[in-house]
């Protein structure tokens, strides 16, 4: 007889059989008798004791009494946990009477699936042929029992005897729940690590002013994207020598907002190029043109030339264009750009919203409104996201609210291209007229109200964010502001039951795009 983790094979079989019978006992108890502990507990407890005695007969033939008792104690303990689970379930659930219905269904589903546990253990423990046959019969028995009870549909499974406990479920409901939710559980489990990471990142970002708010790019009718792009960078000659002028070409494609009717929308582009083999041998090339403006759409070939000239750091060396060897030549286009974003939000009388809610009327359906609108930003290298409540309640009563709501708007800037956001030199938040940003302490960065307005909005600037270079692809720059609703509600609501207003953000910044290419420079020909 071979020894195993549980002693002899015979002992192991007996242990597993005992455990399985205990679980089966619980399942039968639940499915047929609904865990009726008030009337049936005594009977089931004695059945369990009897079962233990029968199984103990197997142990009498085991190797040693001590080993037998040790493992018997372990499995009796485990089995008692199983048999008492329904009792604990009732006690725990009755302590939380307000749990949603789905929670109870979930717990009942877990109990139903518990019946598969012994089968799993038997299957994974390489049992003897007889025990395997028993395991298969057990599985069939479990299935038949579940299906039988489901189709009878009059039986209540896992009935709870606690006074405040929820109504019992029928097996059909529990099985439907399992069917529809098991896949979701697996999918959710698969996504859990990413979700946890996102949650932790968001919490961190929120605390550090680097939260990212959702948005989508504005749909443009033209194929060409608005912004600046560098393409087709290559050396003019395939073979380059240190004593010859070396030239590179790059195509700069740029598209300003339609027609750039506004002078601010013209894209001024500065070009520069460098070779950066080593610090000592780094050289700045000459670009042509060094500057040009894009009014609508432009495709400009720019050349970058490294002329043959002396090296002040190495006066003994003869004049050269680039030192012999491999170089990385970078071309940069630096330009000013403006990105605007807007977020639709709705303002409605607080009492109207309350009455709609009370009557279970969906405010979005009632007024044909887009539910939970997302911020939209104009195309370009920076993504601006904005978030606020989708429906902002307005107290139209003359008396002030006892607990006035704190409304907020938050926005973030995020680099969405491979270039560098060098600096933001003008950042404005437009809020609908009728609301006021709390200037001094209301924003995560100090805000200043501007005298200008566009007829629909109050405009705030953020002087302290100007000339900062902190915005990268991974670390969005975010600002959150609290706002007050003015006592005069006419600007926001007028007489209308609900109005649509826009929060807008305008960012003007300097952006730099780079493109590099490798070039091998040969020594001068002798």
């Amino acid at each position: 007889m071979t020894d195993t983790q549980y002693g002899s094979v015979k002992l192991k079989n007996a242990n597993l059989l005992f455990f399985g019978m205990a679980v089966l006992h619980v399942i039968v108890d639940g499915l047929i008798f609904g865990f009726n502990r008030k009337e049936m507990f005594g009977i089931f407890f004695w059945v369990y004791i009897l079962l233990a005695f029968i199984i103990a007969i197997f142990f009498l033939n085991a190797n040693s009494v001590g080993e037998t008792m040790k493992h018997l104690a372990f499995f009796i303990g485990l089995s008692l946990v199983v048999i008492y689970l329904p009792v604990w379930k009732e006690d725990i659930l009755s302590a939380f009477p307000s749990l949603p219905h789905s929670t109870y269904v979930l717990i009942n589903a877990v109990f139903l699936l518990l019946g598969l546990w012994p089968f799993y253990i038997w299957k994974t423990n390489s049992l003897s042929g007889g025990m395997m046959t028993f395991a298969n019969f057990y599985l069939i028995g479990w299935l038949v029992l579940v299906i039988f009870v489901m189709f009878m549909n009059s039986y209540e499974v896992f009935a709870s005897t606690a006074e405040n406990a929820p109504p019992p479920m029928d097996v059909g409901e529990v099985l439907t729940f399992i069917k529809t939710n098991v896949a979701k559980v697996f999918v959710a489990a698969g996504k859990a690590p990413a979700a946890i990471k996102t949650s932790v990142t968001q919490t961190y970002n929120k605390s550090t002013g680097q939260e990212y708010y959702k948005s989508e790019v504005e749909q443009n009718t033209q194929d060409t994207k608005i912004g600046v792009y560098l393409e087709n960078m290559k050396a003019a000659d395939p073979i380059n020598y240190e004593d010859q002028k070396i030239t590179f070409w790059v195509t700069v494609k740029a598209k300003a907002y339609n027609g750039a009717s506004n002078e601010n929308d013209i894209i001024p582009i500065d070009t520069l190029c460098t070779s950066d083999r080593t610090e000592t041998s780094a050289r700045e090339g000459t670009t042509n043109p060094t500057h040009f403006n894009v009014y609508s759409y432009d495709e400009q070939d720019v050349d970058c030339t490294f002329d043959v000239k002396d090296d002040p750091l190495n006066p003994k060396k003869a004049a050269y264009s680039l030192m012999p060897g491999d170089h990385t030549v970078s071309f940069a286009a630096k330009f000013n750009f403006t990105t605007k974003a807007y977020l639709k939000s709705y303002f409605a009388d607080y009492t109207l919203l309350r009455s709609l809610n009370k009557e279970n009327i969906d405010v979005f359906k009632q007024y044909n409104l887009e539910a939970n609108p997302k911020a939209v930003y104009t195309n370009g290298p920076v993504d601006i996201g904005i978030e606020t409540q989708s429906v902002i309640p307005v107290n139209t009563d003359s008396a002030p609210e006892e607990n006035p709501r704190k409304n907020s708007v938050a926005f973030s800037l995020k680099n969405r291209q491979t270039g560098q956001l060098k600096k933001i030199y003008d950042l404005k938040l437009y809020v609908p007229k009728g609301i006021t940003i709390i200037e001094e302490s209301g924003c995560s960065k100090p805000a200043k109200k501007l005298a200008e307005d566009d007829g629909y909005s109050n405009i705030y600037s953020f002087p302290e964010i100007e000339y900062k270079t902190a915005v990268s692809a991974d670390t969005p720059q975010s600002i959150m502001c609290y706002f007050d609703i003015d006592s005069d509600k006419t600007a926001l609501l007028g007489n209308d039951p609900i109005t649509t207003k826009y929060f807008k953000v305008e960012a003007k910044y300097v952006y730099e795009l780079r493109r590099s290419t490798a070039v091998a420079v040969k020594p001068k020909m002798k």
Binding site: T221, N379, N495, K504
Partner: protein, 315 residues
């Protein structure tokens, strides 16, 4: 002379035949009475096709475009207090001129004098505005309509005081529940259940009247202030808790008014509910079964929104 007599006789016979034919024709052209108390429509609001267009091309500044709304009364009640308000996303769409559609209107319901129901059309001009560096923007223009309305349901019910079948002989009718589909308004009487409640010396006919909102909008209190407030026509303070889903119910059995409990104001839950109306004066227990007309009048306000999404595109 004999020949003339023959001709005259033929003419007389022909006239008889012709008049007989005409007489038959007259008998076949009876005026057919149309029941207008059918369907679940009240006012139907639509944007006139192509107005506004799906895409508005905006040049610099503002671009004016035309928008028109039609309102049809497809129900059986004539609207006395109809209000319309236009909701636009100000900043992207503005009104460029005064709206010539009257904000308050009346509109005749379907009847023999107006089988198609009343119709009105209003046009207004809007301005489309795009942000300076925006290529395209979707925006929505909405017409919010609020109005008073009534539904009148007529049926015949069996009143049989002998609920236990003591009387011998055939009864003229038996008590049964009745179901209905629509009575020419968005709020509908869907079912009437008849019960006879035995009292000491009389029988109380009792009716469970089931009412449902089958239209696309929301039921409002029939109070004019509430209807105006719902459409934002003027700033009036109304009890918002008594604003939605309130239907005033009046019922009569023959010429006798029924008492509806707990009061005649029914608050619909999830768009439907029922009310119990009784003839509290009761009827004699010994009276034979008879058929009586029952009329249920529902008075309410109604509101719904019609919207159109348009694209503002840079030229």
């Amino acid at each position: 002379m004999m020949h003339m007599k023959k001709i005259f006789s033929i003419l007389i016979i022909s006239l008889f035949i012709l008049s007989a034919c005409t007489g038959n024709k007259t008998a076949n052209t009876q005026i057919k009475e149309v029941d207008f108390h059918t369907g679940t429509d009240g006012l139907v609001v639509e944007f006139v096709k192509g107005n506004p267009q799906d895409t508005i091309y905006v040049s610099s500044g503002k671009t004016e475009f035309y928008s028109a709304v039609s309102v049809e009364n497809k129900g059986a009640y004539s609207v006395r207090y109809g209000y319309m308000n236009f909701l636009v996303e100000k900043g992207y769409v503005d009104f460029s001129s005064q709206i010539d559609l009257p904000q308050r209107f009346t509109l005749e319901g379907r009847s023999t004098s107006s089988p198609e129901g009343g119709y009105l059309e209003g046009a207004y001009y809007l301005n489309g505005i795009l942000d300076a560096n925006s290529a395209m923007k979707k925006t929505q223009v909405s017409a919010l309509v609020c109005y008073d309305y009534e539904t009148q349901a007529n049926a015949k019910v069996c009143i049989d005081p002998d609920t236990v079948g003591r009387k011998i002989g055939q009864k003229i009718c038996t008590i049964s529940d009745q179901s209905f589909s629509g009575q020419g308004g968005p709020v509908v009487v869907t079912r009437i259940e008849t019960r006879m409640i035995q009292k000491e010396s009389s029988v109380i006919p009792s009716f469970m009247i089931y009412i449902s909102n089958r239209g696309n909008g929301q039921v409002l209190n029939s109070d004019i202030n509430v209807i105006q407030s719902a459409c934002g026509i003027k700033s009036v303070t109304v009890d918002k808790d008594e604003m939605w889903n309130i239907v005033q119910v009046e019922a009569s059995l023959g010429l006798q008014k029924l008492d509806c409990a707990p009061d005649s104001k029914l608050h619909l839950r999830n768009k439907e509910d029922f009310i119990k109306c009784e003839l509290t004066s009761g009827i004699d227990k010994e009276q034979n079964a008879y058929v009586s007309p029952i009329q249920v009048n529902l008075r309410y306000g109604y509101t719904h929104t019609k919207s159109k999404t348009i694209e503002l595109k840079r030229v």
